[in-house]
Amino acid sequence: MKDVFAYWGCGKGPLKSLHAHIRILSGILLGCGCLLIPLQSVTGIAFMIIIAICWCVLAAMPIKMLLRCAIASFILFFPFLLLTPWMTVGSSSVAPMIDRFAQAGAIALRSTCVLFIAASTIATLAIQDVHRGLACLPIPRTFVVLIVQLINQTMLLTEETFRIIGVLRLRGASGVRDIRVMFSFPIVWMVRMLFRAERTAAAMTVRGYGIEAVTTCENVKLTIADVLTILCASAVLVASILMRLRIII
């Protein structure tokens, strides 16, 4: 659990000094930019990689976390390359293998860059900052309550899951001999999650949890760094849209 929690706010880069809502918004703009950049040209690929690298450098996530992100992206997105033989390029289903590979590779690369941008954004935000940051963004309060609660409950469930795994390990359920215990894990896990959900719902009812739960946005004065960051992130998004529309490059 401590490891999962450690991702939040682990970055030590200059981005951490920005206001929380600027960090969140910039991360979202860059993520959207990466999703839109066309990857048919080397320029597009280079542009996307540079954006992801710059954001990672500015977030200054610890090497250990970077490595974990790399492993996660490999596990999650490498399988796209296995789909190469079945890829269609444009409307053609008989395109050369290299084109198909490029297509699959583009999906994997784009996903990897977005994952690194998301991870770096999380690395700049302590979990306590998320609520305040979201409250300062012009989004509906219901949405803020929902996101905050999603994060909160996900962290609780992760904590619970790690506790169950710890108990299974302690009771020797990691070896091949006791593999049968592993089959009971989903049942144990599901039952505990359901009970926890029920108890949390009860607590929410008693505490009257609702839209008032959104914290207020204190008067924040944007610094020059805040303005510059948001301008750059917006510029990236605009450039991506222009590239997508083939207005530039």
Partner: protein, 240 residues
């Protein structure tokens, strides 16, 4: 003076169970009273507390500050109650401790600034003001229990229903919690197994024993009842 919490012939049976969890329970708690609710595991202590805030179905009547705990007036009754669940992380709903403690006040329309100041005082009273800016996920079980308790205390409820409030506290924490609970203006019902903590905090002792509620004025007698040693009780006979 009207009781702040009143149970009248309350019977609770969970759906699918053939036996009642508690049967025909009646008792009341007056203003400024501190009551300990003892019972063996599975005797229905937590169930009684949950029924008081309408979280489990029951027959009979329950009143909080004169307000019936029923569908129409449930929210009013809940607003007069501070509740501590036995697993504190279930009721911590915010990623920052201060936000969580202040929530009850903000919900009542108090300005965030004042709410945060009051929340800080509640945290300070429980000796955890230094973790106000932390995330609950960074904290120990005992610290989380204090945060949940601060969230219940901060609104100055008419009655506080506390389920095992001392279970995760160290000896020093138990002593200071007993002091805090003795000093608050609310009436308190504590479901607990911790006899020493109850004797420090409460003046009335109820025991749920064999599906019935029995009352004692001495913690020692309540403990003997729990152990089944009726012969050692100073009162000789179990008063109903």
């Amino acid at each position: 003076m009207n009781p702040v919490l009143e149970f009248k012939s309350v019977t609770i049976r969970y759906p699918g169970n053939s036996k009642n969890t508690v049967s025909n329970i009646s008792f009341h708690v007056h203003h400024d009273e501190r009551v300990a609710l003892f019972g063996l595991n599975g005797s229905g202590k937590t169930t009684l507390l949950l029924a008081a805030v309408g979280l489990v179905p029951f027959t009979g009547s329950i009143f909080i500050d004169g307000i019936p705990v029923e569908k129409k007036s449930l929210q009013k009754a809940r607003d007069r109650t501070g509740f501590l669940f036995n697993i504190p992380e279930d009721q911590i709903l915010f990623p920052r401790v201060l936000d969580d403690v202040a929530y009850g006040l903000i919900r009542k329309g108090i300005s965030p600034k004042v709410a945060h100041e009051k929340a800080m005082s509640a945290l300070a009273a429980l000796g955890v003001s230094d973790i106000a800016e932390c995330s609950p996920f960074q904290l120990s079980h005992g610290q989380r229990q204090r945060i949940a308790l601060a969230g219940a205390l901060v609104t100055n409820p008419v009655v506080m229903l506390l389920d095992e409030p001392s279970s995760a506290l160290d000896p020093h924490g138990k002593l200071s919690l007993a002091d805090v609970l003795r000093s608050v203006a609310s009436s308190i019902v504590i479901a607990t197994h911790d006899v020493e903590f109850a004797s420090r905090t409460c003046s009335r002792f109820l025991v749920l024993y064999e599906n019935e509620l029995r009352e004692f004025h001495s913690c020692r007698d309540a403990e003997q009842c729990l152990l089944g040693n009726f012969s050692k009780m100073t009162q000789g006979e179990i008063p109903h």
